[in-house]
């Protein structure tokens, strides 16, 4: 076959089963693409070529024996946040230098049990803290998309920037990602790919480096809605090793792709129409409304009155949980150690050298809001506001709304080293304004590409569902995909 990396997961699955290609050939095609592109894109922090070839060979054996799993021979990229046994797992941080866990995360174990092949570990914002993939110890990832007629390097979004960029540049068939405030959906929107953050508790968090435990969820980034459904089916499970893993069977998500959305009620939350929102974001939102209406869905204006408080509440809850989770990096059990005159000095020097600027900033904020005298004013207040945010969603769902449609991001991809964002951390945080509410309420959300802006850059829409109703999101997402078409960048690398 000609260009094997052009195949979607569904197409590759078909080609493998019908023996038009082999898992070994497919893996070699991706390894060659990575070798050629990664020096420019910087999506992979570690390529595991030998392991990939061995896994592909084993897949070919199982295919020949008629024992192929649902993802047999499909080459995937794995975000550096997932523990992979004996393989580089550093959350793109200096403080985890050399860490190679002796265990496998539940999500990657599920994928490999279904036959998937690991190509390597993907770049990301350090400890998943960022919206541009610029906080990585391994340097920024470049977005495969560029503005028409421009050579300016753009960010792929974050924190799953390596996942999104590798999928968009065809350096893997699909990728794992994680989302704490928008880290799957924002990079998917900025790279013209599909990303879904499932309901909190759907994918096990066991073996995923923790950022903010009450918000973190794993999910896939893929080239289209069907591939995202195929990947989520394998990633999701009920896991006794994660006490927040929810005891519910995993449905056949792929069956929901292409299902009729006739009669579904889609809410349009008025609070997502922000002051100063670019006209092209409003335009793509209106386009999405028209697509769903044409498919027979009913459009209803709704209100989620506490929306504007989600981002400030997030910037209390997430850093608070992070400051606690990241206390374990002390130079004793793993990773970097910088010697000191006594044990406290060793801790302080190790953490000063090992954490990047953004991570330190968030640990400091978290430590402050949890410190004596401030807990009630900040943390407790934020957790109460979080209850109100969740109640907003419960109210519209109780009124019969099946899903909500919003923009995914407030803008298209921006330049690497953007001066405005570097000068003011809050400007960078505003990237997650449309996605963070979903994490605060634990709901599922999917980002689907819906068009290009005037400069030729992809724009995404977000669909938010009821708890554990990812299927409706796949049905609605495929309607948008059918109507809008698919988008891939012109190759410059």
């Amino acid at each position: 076959m000609s260009d094997l990396t052009a195949l979607t997961i569904a197409e590759a699955r078909e080609a493998l089963v019908t023996k038009q290609t082999s898992a070994a050939e497919l893996t070699d095609a991706y390894l060659a693409a990575i070798e050629a592109a990664n020096p420019q894109i910087n999506a992979y922090v570690k390529v595991t070529a030998d392991k990939a070839r061995a896994m592909a060979k084993a897949s070919d054996g199982r295919i020949a024996a008629g024992e192929a799993g649902p993802l047999e021979g499909i080459p995937l990229g794995i975000k550096d946040l997932f523990a992979t046994e004996g393989v580089h797992t550093q959350a793109a941080s200096h403080i985890l230098d050399g860490f190679e866990p002796r265990y496998e995360s539940t999500v990657t174990a599920n994928l490999f049990a279904d036959g998937a092949v690991m190509l390597g570990k993907l770049n990301m914002d350090e400890f998943a803290m960022g919206s541009s993939n610029e906080t990585s110890y391994y340097g920024a990832v470049k977005n495969p998309w560029r503005r028409k007629g421009s050579n300016l390097d753009l960010v792929p979004g974050g924190s799953s920037g390596g996942s999104a960029a590798s999928v968009a540049a065809r350096l893997c068939a699909g990728a794992t990602a994680t989302d704490t405030g928008g880290s799957i959906r924002q990079p998917a929107a900025l790279t013209g790919t599909v990303g879904i953050k499932p309901t909190y508790g759907r994918c096990s968090r066991w073996g995923i480096v923790a950022f903010a435990s009450s918000l973190d969820q794993a999910g896939p980034i893929a080239r289209d809605v069907r591939d995202a459904a195929i990947l989520l089916k394998s990633m999701a499970s009920v896991d006794p090793k994660d006490t927040t893993s929810v005891d519910r069977d995993v449905p056949d998500y792929e069956a929901a792709v292409g299902r009729s959305v006739k009669g579904l009620k889609i809410g349009i939350p008025k609070e997502y129409r922000m002051d100063g929102m670019p006209a092209e974001i409003e335009a793509v939102w209106q386009k999405g409304i028209a697509f769903l209406k044409d498919a027979g869905a009913e459009i209803v204006d709704v209100s989620l009155p506490h929306t504007k408080y989600a981002l400030p509440a997030y910037y209390i809850v997430a850093p608070a949980e992070a400051s606690s989770n990241l206390a374990r990096y002390d130079g004793v059990r793993y990773g970097l150690r910088v010697p000191g005159r006594d044990i406290a000095d060793m801790y302080e020097k190790t953490r000063a050298a090992g954490f990047g600027h953004e991570v330190k900033r968030r640990i400091m904020i978290g430590t402050y809001v949890l410190s004596a005298g401030y807990y009630d004013a900040y943390y407790l207040q934020a957790q109460k506001v979080r209850t109100l945010i969740k109640r907003d969603f419960e109210t519209v769902y109780a009124d019969g709304i099946d899903a909500l449609l919003t923009p995914a991001t407030p803008s298209a991809a921006f330049g690497i080293g953007d001066q405005d964002m570097a000068a003011d951390p809050v400007k960078m945080y505003l990237n997650d304004i449309f996605t963070v509410t979903v994490n605060m309420a634990g709901l599922p959300g999917i980002a689907v590409p819906a068009g290009l802006d005037d400069g030729g850059l992809p724009l995404g829409l977000q669909l938010i569902g009821r708890p554990f109703d990812e299927e409706t999101l796949f049905s609605l997402g495929s309607v948008i995909e059918q109507a809008a078409g698919r988008f891939s960048p012109d190759k410059w690398w």
Partner: protein, 95 residues
């Protein structure tokens, strides 16, 4: 509320992060920008509202109180910067 340099130093000490004078000055500005942003939460009326403890209502999972794992001392210390006889090595803490 806003932080001054003394507070930044105190918080850095609590967080066990060594900071230079330059770090403290930069962090003071940045932390105040973030705290200024989250300040708006104070205007929300939360009287009678319970704080969120779990986004998905579920019962705490329990398991039998039995040993299910262990005998992995080699694995446990495998990634330690310094270890000896299955102990993590740290600078002396007691005289």
């Amino acid at each position: 509320m806003s932080v001054d340099t003394a507070t930044v130093r105190r918080v850095a000490r609590l967080a066990r992060i060594a900071v230079s004078d330059d770090d403290v000055a930069a962090m003071e500005t940045e932390l105040n920008a973030i705290l200024g942003f989250v300040e708006q939460l104070a205007e929300v009326d939360v009287s009678g509202v319970e704080p969120m403890t779990s986004v998905i209502p579920m019962e705490m999972k329990k398991r039998q109180d039995v040993v299910t794992d262990g005998e992995k001392a080699d694995d446990v210390v495998a990634n330690a910067p310094a270890s000896e006889d299955h102990f993590f090595m740290v600078p002396k803490v007691v005289e």
